[in-house]
Homo-oligomer: 407 residues x 2
Amino acid sequence: MPKIDGARLLADLKRLAGFGRYETGVHRPSYSDVDIASRHWLAEKYAEAGLSPIIDGIGNVFGRADGATRRLLVGSHSETQPRGGWLDGALGVIYGLELARAFAADPDLKGLGIETVAWADEEGHYGNMLGSRSFTGHLSEAEIDGYENREGDRLRDALARAGLAGKPRIEVDPRHYLGYLEAHIEQGDTLDSTGLRIGIVEGIVGIWNWRVVLTGQQNHAGTTQMARRKDAGVAMVRLATQIHDRFAEIAGPRTVWTIGRMLLDPNAPSVVPGRAEMQVQARDIDEAILARYRDALRELVAASDRAGPCRAAVEELSQTEPRLMDPDFEKAIEATAERYVPGGHMRMPSGAGHDAQVISHRMRAGMMFIPSLKGVSHHWSEDTKEEDIVLGAQVFADAAAAILNAG
Amino acid sequence: MPKIDGARLLADLKRLAGFGRYETGVHRPSYSDVDIASRHWLAEKYAEAGLSPIIDGIGNVFGRADGATRRLLVGSHSETQPRGGWLDGALGVIYGLELARAFAADPDLKGLGIETVAWADEEGHYGNMLGSRSFTGHLSEAEIDGYENREGDRLRDALARAGLAGKPRIEVDPRHYLGYLEAHIEQGDTLDSTGLRIGIVEGIVGIWNWRVVLTGQQNHAGTTQMARRKDAGVAMVRLATQIHDRFAEIAGPRTVWTIGRMLLDPNAPSVVPGRAEMQVQARDIDEAILARYRDALRELVAASDRAGPCRAAVEELSQTEPRLMDPDFEKAIEATAERYVPGGHMRMPSGAGHDAQVISHRMRAGMMFIPSLKGVSHHWSEDTKEEDIVLGAQVFADAAAAILNAG
């Protein structure tokens, strides 16, 4: 069986965190100088591990195992959130590298190839999951032309500065792989708070986003009598309260919903708000539950509109479908975890999005979580115990071997 | 009795609106070039009306009636809101000028003096009601040192640019006046929607402002299970709904309340809000009702804090006391209005603040409203029918004569 070198793994994780270090975390936005430097460093590490490195036209870094007869693609993304954590993405990338090294070192695993990947811009600095979408054929040249980051920098310009202009983009040949494996920190506190060490991801939730707009009439807060008001702020807080109550009634066991953004216009203490909007989001692994949420939201908004005095309207902003992970991959990870930490693992959905959901459209995919201390995520203070990082890599390697052996 | 010249009155109102014209309204911020130019023009008009003009160190323009034996101070403020209306403030200033002219022209009114005033910065570009506060001794030099406008321009610098640095500020000698009269557009639609022509102001509402802060825990909207959340946005919309319900139950006949400003932090669709705040405002002419609102708000916030999971706290931001107008002045205006438009007038509170509330601390004060078309206020489209402007001036002049004659 493959043997993980914990010291080497941790050293490489820390080396990668040196590209853009920020406090105890990392600031490494997509296509920044440190991001590109780290991708060249990864390519070198892939080569040292006996893989053929390629950086393609969107910035994905691959390590090809040309001599293998059966192959798993293993990795994650390597850029970070602004002032983000050192493990989000990076953990899965360095796990891939370490698995490739462990497999290459073990004569019993001859012919079983770990191909590595570090996806570009999963975090959406310019677009969402750019690298995996490019690899699976879900990213057009026209889309690339249109993307820019929050500062208005165009993706085309960023790619050119990174030396990637004109380079071909590599698209998947699904016959080349048995499937895709991705490890990640949980980003929630379910494992950390229960003392479990391994999460077996059953699927990645669908995320449905709506915008609700309330339209009333802006007025002077002193001279406008209550009976004559059309206060969009009042309409919004009443509707939001109803939404929270109804969503709680119809929730599945792991449904989450959030009203994370609210805007009053003009948002001044002495002005009756003429317009208000809020963004409503629901996440679940079960599309039927998401549809139930959509219907409930439409009903509540229509009722608010009918009741007046403000108009209420809802608009669908975006809708990603839930993606189930491969059941055989789940069983392989679960059985391995049970061997190392009996009873110390659980099945769970991923509440956050991951490249694995994109890849799962073209081949079998599986994901494994290790704990996040206190569930901190998208913040430089994000962290995980070193013993959990090393244990996770060993479970992940053994599971990969089991999957490759099973063929 | 004094005889208003409607054509002259309207011409001067339009001439004043030419200083900073914006669409059909006016943009004339305090101490801007157009504001200072308009104050010099007013001083000239006061002189033409036989008054002794003075511009004092805060920018107030006075027209002294030195030969009179009994005097009323009559006016309003002459700067405008940003891109504001042509009548807000200006109407009361030109009414003062026209009354002074009408009194001077009538030998029967000999010895009865109308002294005119155009207050500085009632609208709060640098401070609130600067001119009337200066006149009544409620504005210290230290406060003047501290004020600046939204662009960070210091009041001291603005005064210097306007040529007012070092000029003395004139403070009231209450024995000099029988009282103060101010006319204004209603800024609400009560008169306009009921077809009434004159509002007799019973008092100016007290305005009490609170900030309510909800503190929860910021978290990832995908990976944080509902049961573990401390969502400050949920706490805010529930509490806001309760506040609106309770405030409606305990309202007086003309109480108004507003939650005009709400902020979620970080206000992002995929982040559970860790902090939320809202500004709650109540206005009434009856201080006992405002105290009832304060108690109810404290009770609801404490209950929200006890219920959890978020902390809730309320802080008093500001509190102005309601100010009643002089009952004899009210009767004089009401009796005059009844003579000109029988049944076409009503008593009402002012929901907005006015210089009259400041002046009322040092002498008797009265206010009269004329209609605002559709109640539009603080917007360049604000307007009033010319016939209402002329009628209002005649009622106002006759009421002033009645007050001066009664002594």
